[in-house]
Amino acid sequence: MIDFLNSIIVLLNFIIIPGISYGSQLALGALGVTFVYAILRFANFAHGEIMSFGAMITILFTWFFQSQNIGLGILPTALLALPIGIIATIILCIISDKFVFQYYRYQKSVPVVLAMVSIGVMFVINAIIRIIIGTETIKFSDGQKFIMKAKQFKVMTGLNEGLALKSSQVITILITILLLTFTFWFLQKTKTGKSMRAFSDNEDLALLSGINPDRVVFTTWIIVGVLACVAGTLYGLDKSYKPIIYLNLVLPIFASAIVGGIGSPFGAVVGGYVIAFSEIMVTYAYKKFFVYLLPSSVEPTGLVQLLSTDYKFAVSFSILVIVLLIRPSGIFKGRVL
């Protein structure tokens, strides 16, 4: 019985909790990509950099608050700076729309051209971030680091295995729940949300019904800015901030959005967790788990690892390819908000 509990704790500690927090970050990112895809109808390659930009502004203001000795006690100071980061990210999104994307929208350019344009935007934002903050790895989480340390848990329960709970993980999960609830409530219940859904379903019909496209696009960018900044900051808070990581994060995010069914917000969230869990589960060495569960005579000798952790990144893409082959429209048939 104790062994069984121990094995469960191993899974919780190394797969489930990291999976949920990483999945939440991916889900928020994928939701942003999905919004752009459903309303503006292009694959936004700049999304990773937008996330990075939001995180960068948050870090800058975190430093400012820290230097002024303003803090939140046990909570990280970054939470205080987050609203400022969100506002800056929204401004960035709206500026990039006004000066870049709007033109092509009025021209009714094909999606591929807009994707190219987003690559240009990606380069520009990328350069701005590197010029402002450099390329170093930045750790900016402060306050209480752990809610529960592995040792405390061992003492508390008397089990062999510890269960560590980082405060950044709990914050990530709580904020994600909050933000997702709000987004879905907004889409389903408010008038603006309904008009956005109508717009993504059938643009011409929506225009005929008197929905103002500029207003819909404006609202979309606001939502995208909020989601991107929060996702970027949470990722940086949980791991650490490094500009190059966000470029690499674009691919798992796209994978999540497509696996879930691109254009479907619920699908994007599910896709985020699917990608996160498969990345972690496929590359985790299950030796410890089986050692507890199986009798010592049949204990595994190897690491019981499907793929080495080097391939973490490839896993999300293999899943994307498999899903596209078997069910091209994704898990939840997408294209409509």
Binding site: V121, Y311, A314, V321, L324
Partner: protein, 456 residues
């Protein structure tokens, strides 16, 4: 073929840029830039063939380049007999088993008709098949990687002249492109972009971590050159005579014998470097011109016309009886093969293979900027884009330094802002690239040298 006037202008600009740099920064720098420009131009032509001719998007440039680089290693590196002894058999067995697995899956797909049974059978056989293969494979690779890991630890290559790898690199890339195309070409263009981008990441991560094959992040260095080494040139009589002959008037003016020898030695050392780079440039130029010739021929042929028809209206072309799926696959593979050739050439030029150096920003997106800026659908445009963008990529740093120094001329040399800006000079090139792309897409969406509209 005949060039228009503005095309001659473009060619003149390209050539004069290098002459300009040659006089300002020295011929060595100019030739280094020229070599990379030619390789970039070949990559750009590869992408341009699939995107410009047929509208098939290929964001997997980085992966195909890496495959070309792998070919350079596998062709030119001398074989390592101990590694083959240590793990050759195990690898052979696992490879044979893998083929057997593929055949089994294909057989099941053919014979089992009910869909659910097929999925279950397939997943079972793949799961257990992989478990068995892994056993042999991991043992073999482990053994190989243990053979003298400081200098070897991989299978080595064939030990042939590296120039063959340019063709092999094309074939490797074509093979990978065939698999990718079979899987993904049915997708819509923006999905295809994401999928090819992802698969290229997978290719690079395989090269990074399968050390038995490519030595992984430990890098392969010291690949043999197709051109002479500087040190050999400096000791070769004919080269010394050649340099003396070229500079005879200058040397004759120096009367003192030891002074004259000193000047001659310097000239020989400089000359050997330039000679090596020039030989590379000539080799690359030949490849570029061959590809350019055939690309143009193909574009003007009935096949090229069919490709344009497919690009402009897929449904209509399909209705006319053109096999769109097959032609898309063909052109995707051809484009990838050319990129693979460029990849092998890149490794040949560097003389080393560093899998971790393949990054999408540098090797996929920049190439796409070259295509868009140069003009998709026009081969000369592709070459022009490759030259201009690579040139500005390299020269962005000195220009930025100059501009920052001019703008902050009133500030003290120790001013924090000035120092910070000067520190971040390398990142301004990304800003330039992004701005160039955005401006071109906005004001000249067809590129600097647009595709010629043909009414034939």
């Amino acid at each position: 073929m005949k060039f228009e006037r503005y095309e001659w202008l473009a060619i003149t600009i390209m050539i004069s840029l290098f002459i300009f740099v040659g006089f300002i920064q020295g011929w060595s720098v100019s030739l280094v830039i020229l070599n990379m420009c030619i390789i970039s131009a070949i990559m750009t032509m590869g992408v341009n063939i699939s995107w410009g001719y047929a509208g098939v998007i290929n964001f997997g440039v980085m992966g195909f380049l890496a495959m070309g680089g792998l070919a350079a290693v596998l062709v030119s590196y001398p074989p390592i007999a101990e590694s083959w002894q240590a793990g050759g058999r195990g690898l052979g067995i696992s490879f044979a088993l893998f083929i057997a697995l593929v055949i089994a899956v294909m057989y099941i797909n053919k014979t089992v008709i009910q869909k659910r049974n097929r999925y279950i059978l397939n997943s079972l056989i793949i799961f257990f098949g992989i478990l068995i293969i892994r056993h042999f494979y991991l043992n073999a690779t482990h053994n190989i990687e243990d053979v003298n890991p400081a200098i070897a630890g991989f299978l080595g290559g064939l030990g042939l002249p590296i120039i063959f790898s340019w063709i092999v690199g094309g074939l490797f890339a074509a093979g990978v492109a065939f698999v990718i195309g079979k899987i993904a070409l049915g997708l819509r263009s923006d999905y295809l972009a994401i999928v090819t981008l992802g698969i290229s990441e997978i290719v690079v991560s395989v090269l990074k971590h399968e050390e038995w094959l490519s030595r992984g992040v430990k890098n392969v260095i010291g690949l043999k050159r197709p051109v002479p080494y500087e040190i050999d040139l400096q000791n070769a009589d004919w080269f010394i005579n050649f340099v003396t002959y070229l500079n005879s008037s200058k040397l004759n003016n120096i009367i003192d014998v030891s002074d004259r020898q000193q000047v001659l030695n310097n000239l020989i050392i400089d000359g050997s470097g330039i000679f090596v780079k020039l030989s590379y440039a000539i080799l690359f130029l030949i490849v570029m011109l061959i590809i350019f010739y055939f690309a143009n021929k193909a574009q003007l042929s009935p096949w090229g016309r069919m490709m344009r028809a497919i690009r402009d209206n897929e449904t209509a072309a399909n209705a006319m009886g053109k096999d769109v799926v097959k032609q898309h696959l063909i052109i995707f593979v051809i484009g990838a093969a050319i990129v693979g050739v460029a990849g092998a050439m890149l490794v040949t030029l560097d003389g080393l293979f560093t899998p971790s150096g393949y990054r999408p920003l540098r090797f996929t997106f920049i190439i796409w900027i070259m295509v868009i800026v140069g003009g998709s659908g026009n081969n000369l445009g592709a070459i022009f884009g490759g030259f201009v963008i690579w040139f500005s990529w390299i020269e962005a740093a000195p220009i930025t330094t100059f501009i920052i120094n001019q703008l902050t001329i009133g500030l003290e040399p120790t001013n924090a802002l000035k120092l910070h800006l000067l520190d971040s000079v390398p990142y301004f090139r990304y800003l330039f690239m992004g701005l160039i792309l955005l401006l071109i897409l906005r004001y000249r969406p067809k590129g600097i040298i647009p595709e010629k509209v043909r009414h034939s």
